[in-house]
């Protein structure tokens, strides 16, 4: 089996730590990164960078928000109506999706859903929005509204790329 070796400088002690992680379980990397954040100051770092074209790099900000949502909603009844906790699978899948989304679109709202899911919503105004839902099963649901009587919805496979249906929906919303 292939393995990935990481050397991580500890912020708490002198020296560094060698960690061996079985390939390709990136979930452990995500979890480790998340646990490191909890032990630190909990302050966001490197939130927003601007490239030469003026596009806001919101990926880190969105990931920080996702972490907050995951922490807040990791126990049942987080909405007062017996909502299910957000599962690790859905958290990791949402994290993967956020990393793959182009920064040319605005940063989405990251919303906990009562079935333990995570939604990403781009809301412009009444009747104009685009939302995707993370299922944790390599599928994402989407709803696009491009006017009062112009709505579309469906389900798309999500494994290693964001489908054109999602990207075209976002382009249409922001065109």
């Amino acid at each position: 089996m292939q393995a990935l070796n990481l050397t991580i400088d500890s912020p708490f002690a002198l020296g560094s730590t060698d960690i061996k992680i079985d390939w390709p379980d990136w979930a452990y990397i995500e979890e480790f990164r998340f646990s490191l954040r909890n032990k630190k100051t909990n302050q966001p770092t490197d939130w927003a960078k601007t490239d030469l074209e003026g596009t806001i790099d919101w990926t880190n900000y969105a990931l920080e928000t996702l972490n907050e949502v995951y922490e807040e909603c990791s126990a049942a009844n987080w909405d007062g109506y017996n909502a299910q906790p957000i599962s690790r699978e859905k958290y990791f899948e949402a994290s993967k999706l956020i990393r793959m989304l182009p920064n040319s679109f605005p940063v989405p709202d990251i919303l906990p859903e009562p079935d333990g899911g995570i939604g990403l919503e781009w809301y412009q105004e009444k009747y104009f929005s685009f939302a995707v839902g993370i299922t944790g099963k390599n599928m994402i649901t989407y709803v696009g509204r491009f006017g009062k009587n112009n709505q579309t919805y469906g389900t798309e496979t999500f494994i290693d790329s964001v489908s054109d249906v999602i990207l075209n929906g976002l382009k249409r919303l922001f065109s």
Partner: protein, 129 residues
């Protein structure tokens, strides 16, 4: 359903909100997960003929203790807005005479989300004073 519990399209309903990610305070907007169902039902209260304080009192004194959460906001909808989505409202007076559930949700997740988004768009957001 007896006549007393039949809900007319003009009736006002409200959904109490206990999570601060389910509404936008500055824009006074309800976000769609607030209306998503749990086990095929979205709990609401019938608020026609109640004044604003009475509506908050139900949320504060009845719903919040059951939910073990702090009441933060509410989203008001006219029943017609719910019926327009092809959904129904069923009175559920076992524990409170004004309680009801939005039912008739479809099975497909994406379509559930579409209805919840449309309801959230139509809802009037009130922040708890």
């Amino acid at each position: 359903m007896n006549q007393k519990n039949k809900i007319s399209s003009k009736e006002a309903t409200t959904r109490y909100i206990f999570n601060d990610r389910h509404y936008a305070e500055t824009k006074k907007r309800i976000k769609y997960p607030a209306f998503m169902p749990k086990k095929g039902e979205t709990s609401v209260f019938r608020i026609s003929n109640l004044d604003d304080q009475q509506i908050w009192d139900i949320g504060e004194n009845y719903v919040a203790p059951i939910s073990s959460r702090t009441l933060l906001a509410r989203g008001d909808l006219i029943a017609l807005d719910i019926f327009d989505e092809g959904l129904e409202i069923e009175a559920d007076t076992k524990n409170h005479k004004l309680h009801a559930n939005i039912v008739g949700w479809p099975l497909k997740e994406a379509k559930i989300k579409l209805h919840a988004i449309n309801l959230a768009d139509k809802a009037i957001c009130h922040i708890k004073p």
